[in-house]
Point group: C2
Chain length 315, copies 2
């Protein structure tokens, strides 16, 4: 039935169900769809659309009449496709504004450390006038972990600002103006060559816990860490240890293992840690909802989706 009211099942451990419901309501109308927030689902075989960042713990095999699986993110590498009913079309979310938002966040964090605003913030409250000679951009080296669509955009933007930019990816890449490293040796090589480390990797079994003592121990003393990936990339105790010995001078964390970061967490009030509430790319709901609403309509009419995934190629 092309005119049926779509039943949408939503699940994400990192995105706000309310934000996405509101963004979709602006496109489909407040009464234009049913909205079930997972992980629990009373009648999975009545669900038309699964809208998710990651799969719910029980997978989607009980959702036998799905018309589409729509990813909240630009990739589907967080999905185990064997746990999705065979033959259901998948689409990723393409948000043209996301790369610019990530670049802007990276610049806010990078320039804050590069020009020592993080120190002047404290000095301003303590009536201290003490300057450090600023370094030319070319003498601050920045390493990107992850050179996918977003990591590459950040790397190229910082290179255009004349910083010395390094990038690491699992398999070798080639980007103009970026010193590219790859593989297990490449990551430790890059860590020893940079002043700031920015994580933009996807969260997979291989990248889980990659921001650990093993990596921090390779950094130059007084380095900076910026996590724009996922909370699961970071071994929290290892960061606190690296901060306590000055291996890491300061860290900016946009993501946490549990969000919001719980009250009483040692990251709160740590003078070396700036917490930002998952805002590096948060506008995706507002702009991506246009495309997702269109895919809801297409799925209900049985049409090919926008940005439909070719499972053979994997993207």
């Amino acid at each position: 039935m092309a005119t049926a009211r779509p039943r949408i099942y939503f699940f994400s451990r990192i995105d706000s169900a309310q934000t996405w419901r509101d963004a979709l309501a602006a496109q489909l109308g407040d009464d234009g769809f049913d909205w079930i927030v997972g992980p629990a689902c009373a009648a999975p075989d009545e669900v038309d659309i699964a809208l998710m960042y990651n799969l719910p713990p029980d997978g989607l095999l009980a959702f036998r009449h799905l018309r589409a699986v729509l990813s909240l993110s630009a990739g589907i590498n967080q999905f185990d496709c064997t746990r999705i009913p065979h033959g259901v079309p998948l689409a990723r979310s393409v948000d043209s504004s996301l790369a610019q938002h990530m670049v802007g966040y990276a610049k806010a964090a990078v320039y804050r450390y590069h020009r020592r605003f993080h120190r002047y913030e404290r000095d301003s409250r303590a009536s201290v006038w003490q300057f450090e000679l600023p370094r030319p951009n070319a003498r601050t080296a920045i390493g990107l972990l992850g050179l996918g669509e977003l990591g590459s955009a950040v790397a190229c933007a910082l290179a255009a600002d004349a910083f010395e930019v390094h990038g690491w990816s699992r398999t070798p890449r080639d980007l103009p103006g970026v010193r590219c490293h790859a593989g297990a040796e490449g990551i430790t090589q890059m860590a020893g060559a940079v002043d700031m480390l920015i994580n933009l990797l996807p969260l997979t079994a291989e990248t889980h816990g990659i921001l650990s003592s093993k990596l921090f121990d390779r950094l130059r003393p007084g380095s900076f860490v910026i996590n724009m990936g996922r909370g699961g990339h970071l071994v929290e105790a290892d960061l606190l240890a690296a901060l306590s010995v000055g291996r890491v001078e300061a860290a900016t964390l946009d993501v946490a293992a549990v969000e919001p970061l719980p009250a009483g967490h040692p990251f709160w009030a740590h003078p070396g840690i700036l917490i930002t509430p998952h805002v590096a790319g948060i506008t995706s709901a507002n702009t991506a909802a246009v495309q997702i609403a269109e895919n809801v309509r297409r799925a209900m009419r049985g049409e090919v989706l926008l940005n439909q995934i070719d499972l053979e190629r994997g993207y």
Copy 2:
């Protein structure tokens, strides 16, 4: 005598005499020159070179055997040339790295407000996780006061980052990607059209006190002010008043009427004010000393100076 040891008289209300002495010593040798720090000077007619940002209160007419007046800045509009002995050659200081430093400082201040890091800094200390949807760069409008060499560089760099950029100058200018305003009407017009105001004007009799209630009253509520010019541009009480009513949400001040900013000054510890210790372009001593040392040598040999000023043209 071409081989005489030059006697250099230094005066600036804003630059550190020690920093400049050290920078020149690296070029001319520790014992390569005599160094007199003004305003007082016991034997003005024995001075060969005056190195200054601004004139000392009594002018330079008593310095009857000057071979050169070297400006610490890129301009000489802070000099009253009638108070300098007639016929002494003047040179300005050209520091190729200065524009990049000013652009980097402007980006640090702009992105901090644009991406709300100034709020997250406070929230991190108060265990508050509260996000604001970031705006696309194109929806933050930034106004530059001053479109000289440095103001233009900042304006063009922010326009390249997709911000909406406005610029104001006394006489009309035309810059690609920048909405240019001019004259007395233009400045109030621009103030009403922007979210952030960056001052990069030279300090002259006309621009003294230009950052005043008259201008602040035209800003949209919740605007941001960034002063990268001189302390004399700002009417301090007017900024405090604008902050107290929320007309200005926050201000970043790299310069002050008296530097270092005195203990007990109300700007210290004001939660809406970030003080930076005159670092937007501070590296000029290190890089500019090369050219200044060469001009000291040329002046002692009676040669034409690098970047000598043509007083007819004024630059």
